[in-house]
Symmetry: C2
Subunit: 136 residues, 2 copies
């Protein structure tokens, strides 16, 4: 882990204290923070950091493919740094907790060509919903 900073530097991402803090907050496995949560954690280390900067940094990390945007409900998007390891999400319908899961099979394979309607399909995103142990 924690080679996120490393990779970003190698890719020529201009490093500022704000960007470093955002990347550090996101680094790790099973992290699914909202932009506001990222901002709150970043602000613990760098109190003056602004929301706009956090949104900018997150947007760039997404463009760079280092972080994935996940919208599990209609509420705030979550940012998942585990972008290099394909996985799906299991979401608690009650409290919103998110777990990374690895289903069997390839979801893209389940869409026959007569169901693609001329689309160039590039991705299949599966969201499992249910109640987590604490909420059940």
């Amino acid at each position: 882990m924690s080679d996120l900073l490393e990779r970003l530097r190698e890719r020529g991402w201009r490093m500022t204290s704000q960007r470093r803090v955002v990347a550090e907050v996101l680094d790790g496995d099973h992290v699914h923070l909202t932009a506001d949560e990222v901002h709150a954690r970043a602000a613990q280390r760098l109190p003056e950091i602004s929301r706009a900067t956090v949104y900018n940094a997150l947007g760039e990390l997404v463009s760079l493919g280092e972080v994935k945007e996940v919208s599990t409900d209609g509420r705030a998007k979550r940012y998942d740094p585990n972008a290099h390891h394909p996985h799906q999400h299991l979401v608690c319908s009650s409290c919103g907790t998110v777990r990374d899961v690895h289903p069997t099979g390839n979801p893209l394979g389940n869409l026959p060509s007569d169901q693609r309607f001329g689309f160039t399909v590039s991705e299949a995103e599966v969201t499992y919903r249910g109640l987590c142990p604490s909420c059940a």
Copy 2:
């Protein structure tokens, strides 16, 4: 089709002109309108209808299980009246168009119990993404 009104009446849904118009706008297959789009279409027939009323009606239709809420991106939710026929969605990453699709297999079956982490999993939602013919 168009027995949506019928079903609602049978279920004792108090019928007002506003609710009727909302239900009529939503009736049909392959309809995936946002709340604002529903409001706009409803307002063509009933100019004074308010946004709050549309949101109320949509919320109730969802509670009644007659309409499904779909959040394909982080933006506005879409309302899918095709709730009685299980299906998944194919979304254009560029223009946001949504198509109903019927993949093979049962997505819930692809999540082995050692990947459920104690959750009571009740639903699997698959979103295929790609470019539609016009955007490709």
